[in-house]
């Protein structure tokens, strides 16, 4: 099976979401793909978070970068995007790119090769990552879409952002299920964090206040096989 065929199948099977008039695939692995633009967006990779914490005495396993890159490699292989936008906090801290193990750097460079790669500046990584290709930008406008790390307080149609690491929670038959999610209201979309060690924050938390039209808020919760679109009225805080 060649790549374009598998891409077509992925897109055909997926739930297509409209954002400011653009069609997008909410992939259950936590990436957003715009087939018409051949653009893949991924947010909050937080590469080298493990070693960042290790510097402060918590020696948690140093395999997060490898794990995150492996998953990213898989989605890139599936969609073969022309453009990749990493929506900020790509590295957990400013020294992350420097600390990255050589083998991981090579893996990253291999998947960057042959496509346009944008590093959107995040609060964890305001500067360009050391010695890596790709273009570092504050924000990026493509068609009717605007990619930036932090969602803006003003209502912006077509804004794709990250930063908040949204997750959603439902209770069904006395059991609570919490998953990472895309959060959108038709106008803007906040992406889930992709990094292996990234936590998440409930979309009903105060941090999201004023960002969504609550009547049309939908949480696209990540399942193991597919995305589950859950209306805002069914969501629970905490």
């Amino acid at each position: 099976m060649n790549f374009s065929l598998s891409r077509a199948m992925l897109i055909a099977e997926a739930d297509l979401v409209g954002i400011a008039g653009e069609r997008a695939v909410c992939d259950r692995r936590g990436v957003l793909y715009f087939p018409d633009l051949r653009l893949l967006a991924v947010s909050d990779l937080h590469l080298e978070k493990g070693s960042s914490l290790a510097r402060r005495g918590a020696l948690i396993p140093p395999y997060d970068t490898g794990a995150t890159l492996l998953r990213l490699q898989a989605v890139i292989a599936d969609y073969q995007p022309r453009i990749v936008v990493s929506l900020g906090d790509s590295f957990h801290d400013g020294g992350g790119a420097e600390r990255m193990h050589q083998s991981f750097r090579e893996r990253l460079e291999a998947m960057m090769a042959g496509r346009d790669w944008f590093w959107v500046a995040g609060n964890h990584d305001p500067d360009a990552p050391a010695d890596l290709p790709g273009e570092t930008v504050k924000e990026l406008a493509v068609g009717s879409l605007l990619f930036r790390h932090e969602p803006s307080k003003l209502r912006v149609e077509g804004e794709i952002s990250g930063h908040l690491h949204p997750c959603a929670r439902i209770v069904q038959r006395g059991r609570s299920v919490r998953r990472r999610c895309f959060a959108g209201d038709g106008g803007r979309m906040i992406m889930p964090a992709f990094g292996a060690y990234t936590g998440s924050l409930n979309v009903l938390d105060r941090a999201y206040a004023g960002l969504f039209r609550l009547e049309t808020l939908v949480a696209y919760m990540l399942g193991t096989e597919r995305i589950f679109a859950i209306s805002g009225s069914m969501l629970r805080p905490g």
Partner: protein
Amino acid sequence: MPPRYLLRVTEQPRLAEQNAAVLLPEPFVKWFGEKGWSPRVHQLELLAQAQSGQSVLLIAPTGAGKTLAGFLPSLTELANRPKRRPGGARRGIHTLYISPLKALAVDIERNLGKPVEEIGLPVTIETRTGDTPSHKRQRQKLAPPDILLTTPEQLALLIASNGARRFFEDLRYVVLDELHSLVTSKRGHLLALGLARLRAFVPRLQTIGLSATVAEPDELRRWLVSQASPGAMSELIVVTGGAKPEISILDSEERVPWAGHSARYATPEIYREIKRHKTTLLFVNTRSQAELLFQELWRVNEDTLPIALHHGSLDVAQRRRVEKAMGENALRAIVATSTLDLGIDWGDVDLVVHVGAPKGASRLAQRIGRANHRMDEPSKAILIPANRFEVLECRAALDANYLGAQDTPPLVNGGLDVLAQHVLGCACGAPFHADALFDEVRTAAPYAGLDRPTFDRVIDFVATGGYALRNYERYARIRQTKEGLWRVSNPAVAQQYRLNVGTIIEVPALNVRYVQAGSRGAASRGGRVLGKIEEAFLETLTHGDTFMFGGKILRFEGIRENECFVSNAPGSDAKVPYYGGGKFPLSTYLAEQVRAMLDDPQRWKKLPEQVADWLRFQADKSVLPKRDDLLIETFPRGNRYYLVAYPFEGRLAHQTLGMLLTRRLDRAGAKPVGFVATDYALAIWSLGDMGWMFKNRKPSLATLFDQDMLGDDLEAWFADSWLLKRTFRNCALISGLIEKRHPGKEKSGRQVTVSTDLIYDVLRSHEPDHILLQATRTDAATGLLDVSRLAEMLSRIRGRIMHKNLEQISPLAVPIMLEIGKMPVNGEADETLLMDAATLVEEAMGPEMAD
């Protein structure tokens, strides 16, 4: 393991005074005389053993003067000690007393202070617990008391402090109270390692263990002394006897329910007993049972007797008030969970009521020992079975108590996570040599079998995380000096260690605070705190839900940060039940007894008529399981097919079995939907006709229950199970991989902290042999899944499976069938729930809205 029957040595008459005088200093003899007492044989025996330099294990029932016996060697030696000259060398701690409970240490301070004062001994006694203010701790380091009463965690902290060796240089005795309960947990492992360290500081150190009756006293005897010579044991003194307890099973005039755990039916009869006695202690197995029983008793409490509630989730101040009232004999009854299990003296309890099944014969004996703390008077106890299976279990336990059977669990090997914590603690105290520490650690009984490569991996883990990638060398927490000594790299490491010491992992819990009804906690700061409730339970509540806590019906108003806001909802019913589950699984021994009873109609005569009738019906409609067989019934009901198995191996083993069987049934095409497990039985329901499948050997039951399920199926399920993740979290916290949460530092929130679930996933896929995963698997197999018990069962029933394919539900199956719908269903995937929620949205709003 077969139950052991201890040789019972009834206490001999007390020694004549002149014999006592040989061992006891004069002021002690005088004091006993003034009190009109004489020292007991085991007290003098212990003293003699200690004076000849031996460590001793004293096994005695409550009320036998155990505490005084434990301290006599210290007190007599301190009495004979020459006076310290002014300006003379400071004296260090003489005796360390360690108990599992803070409250016990405080209690002992009071009880020991009295004789010390009356005898006129120049002995200082102080406590040191988590509640001790820092200025007092500082002072204790400079001017230590003669006797320090403390907990395992405080000992670990003392060992990890600078100058630990000097602090303990005068130590003579370590008295370990409630040893039987200490040794079974990771706290026990930490304590054993601490003891090994103390013995390295002071080689002539003697230990005195005080314990209730246990199945294998030799395990404790080894635990008390250095295993440098393998298998070495302390001396042993066993006191038995006292009057035989009078235990009865409530022969209720009401109907004993088929299922459930509330024993609500017996409330009026329990109340009548409370009225008939001075002070009644009511034991239950779970917090929710305690809440319910308390509510029910007050509903019928027409004389407004002072009846109180006590469990570990209640606010500390509230608990202290109850304990104080109890000590002053101001209460007529107290409903309690295991927080009161241990040996605190509770005034004049003359009746113990045990609600629900005791789950173990030893547990029952220890709880009943609580009544009437004088050992020559019989204890009186009533067992209240909450359902029909519990009637059988109570009967079995009761027979066991008379026989003196013991079913305390066997000790397990020391945890590697605990060892990692200890290694870091040692480094915080003083630089260590790996060879010396390895030898020292192996003198602790739980670690006697530790091999050097594993030990070295633990050191590597403490230093740099022990990862194959080896890129954390520059962040090492401990480093080796040129001389080969391991020392902490910087003071921050020691500081971090001190904040994280201990092996008690608290379940994430929120404060429960009063607010005005309807305020959702937003407007007001709220009223008083009632206690703490697990986050996991609160997550299932929505605004307006009512539940029981602290003896009250509360309405859930909302959650804000680490507080849960509630308001009073008097008069309403608690809508949301709380499942703490049975904390203790049915012991193997009792399970066997219950099976034996089912198989022997002669023994049914001792059972209440309604229960015996139930068994006769079962014999008529289906069949009763033979003692060594496994009965499996299949029947259709509604649009489902049911399989009910009766292994009687406890809830944990049944849950594991349920998980594995559903995997297999799924592969066989039976389309299993879910299962529930109780201590006695397991029910699985499916869309496919399992009865037909088994009859046609597609698959046969023998294949389905083959032992090979413990191979690949277990491994595959294990890896993804939330149980394993929870275990990993404990190991990660105890080993110091990640920090515990601390009050005041909890603001960080979910998006900042790295959850141990994520770490687990990453580590498992990249380094499955990492030492922490190894520790996790070992823990889970023993603690959470009861794999060994399941394995024994599967091998026992080979060729002994009895299949009954029925037209309809059998009498024996009724109890577990009633649990369906009341208990959370296992095996129902989160994905299904998500699917339901997503479908609801589509149904309600049309597909275009869902997109």
